[in-house]
Amino acid sequence: MTAYVADVAALAHKDLKVELRTRDTLPAMLLFVVATLVVFHFALPADAGDDAAYGLLWIAIVFTALVGLARAWVPEHEHGVLEGLVLAPCDRSAIWLGKTIAALAFLAAAQVVALPAFALFFAPLDAPALLGVVLADLGICAVGSLLAAMAAATRSREVLLPLLLLPLAMPLVVGGVGSAIAPEPGRYLLFLALYDAVFAVLSWASFEYVVTE
C-alpha cells in the first residue's frame, strides 16, 4: 500500500517537475481560459442574466481541461517513457493515478486565476458553486487522463480527445451548472460525487488494458 502511494507520488512529482522546466501546459491553459472569458463577454447579449454566464463558465472549464489533457501524455510518447513505465514493476493503475493528480493540479492552478476573473467580469460564485467546480474537476481529470492515454495512441490524437470526452462530460456540466444556479444545490453536488466515484473506479480498473500491448 505504501509502495503504491510512493509510486503515485513519484509519478505525479515527475509530471509537475517536467512542467516546471518546460512550461508547456499551464501557461497555455491560463491564457486560453482568460481569453475565452473575454470572448464570452462579447458572445453574451447585454440583457442576458447571470445564469447564462454560469453556463458559459462551464464551457470554459471543460475546454480548458481539454487543452491541458491534450498535452498530458505527449512527453511520455515523444521519448518512449510510457513503455518504460509499463515495464516498471509497479501497478499500472498508479500511472493513471499519478497523471490524474498532475492534471488536477494544472486545472486547479488555471482555475485559481479563472474563477476570480469570472467573478470580476460576470457574476459572483458562492460556496456550492465552488464545491461543484472541485467535484467536476475530479471527474474531468479522472476520465480525461484515461481517454487522453487512449487518444494518444491513435493517429488523430488532438482531434479525437474532445470527441471522446465531451459526451462523457455532459453530466458534469449538468451537475456544475445546477450547483451554481439551482436554489437547492445539494442534489447536484451529490450527483457529481456519484459520477466521480463511478467513473474514477472504472478508469482506475480499466487503465491497464489501455496501455499494455
Binding site: 445564469d51 476520465v143 484515461l146 487512449m150 487518444a151 495512441a153 491513435t154 493517429r155 488523430s156 479525437l160 470527441l163 471522446l164 465531451l166 459526451p167 462523457l168 455532459m170 453530466p171 449538468v174 451537475g175 451548472v177 445546477g178 444556479i181 439551482a182 442534489r187 447536484y188 450527483f191 456519484l194 459520477y195 463511478v198 467513473f199 472504472l202 480499466s206 488494458y209 489501455v210 499494455t212 500491448e213
Partner: protein
C-alpha cells in the same frame, strides 16, 4: 415483423388523445429498447474480451455496438417524426429519451472514430472495449443528468409514458418488440458472418502473398564459374 405491422396499423384501436400518430409508438419504443439491448450486449462482449483475452469477442462487441448505433439513429428518426406529429416540432429538449439517445449517438460515433484511428490489433480491441464499457455506464448517469437538468433547463411539458395500455395495445407492443429484437438478432448474425468472412479472406490473401521460401532449382545448384 409482418404480423407486427398489420397489428400496429390495422387492429389496435386508436389512441383517444393522439389519434393515428400514436401508432408509431409500436415501432419507436421497441427500436429504442433494442438499441439499449445492443449497447448492453456490446459492453458485455467487451467485458468478456478484457477478461478472457479471446480475440473473437472484439468483433462481436463491435458488431453489437454498430447495430445499437443504427437502432439508436432510427430511434432519433422515429422519435422526431412522432414529435412532429403530436407536438408539431421536429425536436424537443423536453423528451428525456430523445435527448439521451442524442448523447448516446454522439458517444458511439466517437467510438467508431476511436476504432478507426488505431492500427488493428490487441491495442485497438482493448481500447474499444474499455470505451464500450464506459458507454454502458454512461447510459444511467446521463439519464439521471438529463432528469436533473430539466429542473433548470426546461420544465416538463409532455409525458411520453402517457396513458395506460389496454390489453390489445400491450399485445401488439409485445409482438412488435419481439419482431424488432428478432430483426436486430438477424442483422447482428449477418454482419458478424460478413466481418468474419472478410477477416478470413484477408488472412488467406496475406498468406498467399507472402513470398514463399525459395526452392533452389537444379541448375542453380550446379556449381558454376568454379570449374570452368
Amino acid at each position: 415483423m409482418g404480423l407486427a405491422v398489420v397489428l400496429a396499423l390495422l387492429v389496435v384501436p386508436e389512441d383517444a388523445d393522439q389519434g393515428v400518430s400514436q401508432r408509431i409508438f409500436y415501432i419507436h419504443v421497441p427500436i429504442a429498447l433494442t438499441a439499449y439491448f445492443c449497447f448492453g450486449l456490446g459492453a458485455w462482449k467487451a467485458l468478456r474480451l478484457l477478461w478472457t483475452r479471446e480475440e473473437h469477442f472484439d468483433l462481436e462487441s463491435y458488431v453489437a455496438v454498430h447495430q445499437g448505433t443504427i437502432f439508436g439513429a432510427l430511434t432519433l428518426l422515429t422519435g422526431s417524426i412522432w414529435a412532429k406529429a403530436s407536438w408539431n416540432v421536429w425536436w424537443t429538449w423536453s423528451s428525456r429519451q430523445l435527448v439521451l439517445f442524442l448523447v448516446l449517438f454522439l458517444f458511439y460515433c466517437a467510438y467508431f472514430m476511436l476504432r478507426y484511428s488505431i492500427e488493428e490489433g490487441a491495442r485497438r480491441a482493448r481500447s474499444s472495449a474499455v470505451y464500450a464499457l464506459f458507454g454502458v455506464v454512461l447510459i444511467p448517469i446521463s439519464f439521471l443528468a438529463i432528469r436533473l437538468a430539466q429542473d433548470f433547463v426546461h420544465p416538463v411539458v409532455f409525458n411520453i409514458s402517457g396513458p395506460q395500455m389496454s390489453a390489445s395495445m400491450f399485445a401488439t407492443f409485445c409482438v412488435s418488440w419481439a419482431a424488432v429484437t428478432l430483426l436486430a438478432y438477424v442483422l447482428y448474425r449477418v454482419e458478424l458472418l460478413g466481418k468474419r468472412v472478410d477477416a478470413d479472406l484477408r488472412e488467406l490473401r496475406e498468406t498467399l502473398e507472402r513470398p514463399r521460401p525459395s526452392v533452389p532449382r537444379l541448375d542453380e545448384q550446379m556449381p558454376t564459374g568454379v570449374g570452368s
